[in-house]
């Protein structure tokens, strides 16, 4: 069984086999993302009650928390792929790392943006140099640094090696973001949902938020697989299978 599993992994670590697999999976994740978004937003706007302290402004939570969680989660996954690519020299891993970066950067920006628009009515300021906000901003810069370094080096494999170091070193920032609200006295509230406590919010609010987390997760998988396919085409353009694919499409 173990051998069988490792053979499957080896099989799909080849870009030639990964490309059609990703193509088959994309519609599945895209449809799941759309359905979950509709359900999540319906519960979030029509079932979940108005917050007794924050009024309707709290409804930003249904995209703020999913965006923030995904930005951290994608960073960890990106760093893992980058590390595997760096140590074991697996091309598909390098390509996955670079496919993840733009989506992760977008989610960190959206976490900051929705946070700013939530912070203004709640704290009275769009931005404060609070530990949680500052470390999230650093993560956005790490994503941008990763992408810029990669695009600054012409040779794709060398570019991946160099940018992988940024990804791996920068991963130390993720636990700092996560624990920042515990370690420092921040304006940002502490965790409302954590593995060790009962959630501190109404169950319909929590359900809507968790459904939106899964919706964003499925969206991220779909769009990252689409981008990974583009990267495969670019980097494998000298291979016969890509050239045949291109000519057969015409």
């Amino acid at each position: 069984m173990a051998l069988q599993n490792s053979i499957i992994w080896l099989y799909f670590s080849s870009p030639k086999n990964f490309y059609p697999l990703a193509g088959k999976l994309i519609p599945f994740f895209a449809i799941l993302a759309a359905v979950l978004t509709v359900i999540g937003l319906y519960i979030g706007f029509f079932v979940a009650p108005t917050d007794y302290q924050q009024g309707e402004s709290y409804r930003i939570i249904f995209i703020h928390v999913p965006a923030a969680w995904m930005s951290m989660f994608i960073y960890i996954v990106m760093a893992m792929y980058a590390f595997i690519g760096l140590v074991w020299n697996i091309k598909m891993s390098e390509m996955m790392a670079s496919a993840l970066a733009p989506t992760g950067a977008m989610f960190s920006f959206l976490a900051l943006w929705t946070g700013a628009l939530w912070g203004k009515p709640t704290w009275g300021a769009y931005w404060v140099w609070d530990a949680r906000l500052t470390t999230t901003l650093i993560m956005l810069f790490l994503y941008i640094g990763f992408m810029s370094l990669e695009s600054a080096i012409d040779d794709a494999r060398r570019a991946s090696k160099a940018s992988a170091l940024v990804a791996v070193v920068g991963v130390v920032n993720v636990p700092i973001i996560y624990f920042s609200v515990k370690w420092w006295n921040t304006l940002h509230q502490g965790a409302s949902v954590s593995p060790t406590m009962a959630p501190k919010m109404a169950s319909t609010m929590l359900n809507a938020m968790l459904i939106m987390v899964f919706a964003f997760w499925m969206y991220a998988i779909a769009v990252v697989l689409m981008r990974a396919r583009n990267i495969i085409l670019e980097r494998e353009k000298q291979t016969t299978w890509v050239q045949e694919l291109v000519t057969n499409k015409k």
């Binding site: 706007f45 108005t50 009024g55 309707e56 402004s57 409804r59 930003i60 995209i63 703020h64 965006a67 733009p102 989506t103 977008m106 920006f109 959206l110 943006w113 929705t114 628009l117 939530w118 203004k120 009515p121 969206y219 769009v223 689409m226 981008r227 396919r229 583009n230 085409l233 670019e234 353009k237 890509v242 050239q243 291109v246 000519t247 499409k249 015409k250």
Partner: protein, 55 residues
């Protein structure tokens, strides 16, 4: 209906968050799809040129 869109006076903050999020996610998908098209066209041209050189 109007009451729903007013969001209890927080319309700017709530719809500003949702609008930009939806816009970014939509643009990301469009960019990736367009990118695929241009790559395909460029690679097809490359293959054509190479086959002409061989002849």
């Amino acid at each position: 209906m109007a009451e729903f869109f007013a969001m209890g006076g927080y319309a700017f903050y709530v719809w500003g968050s949702y609008g930009v999020t939806a816009l970014f996610m939509l643009i990301e998908v469009i960019l990736v799809i367009r990118n695929k098209r241009t790559i395909m066209q460029r690679l097809a041209r490359m293959v054509r040129m190479n086959s002409q050189v061989e002849k």
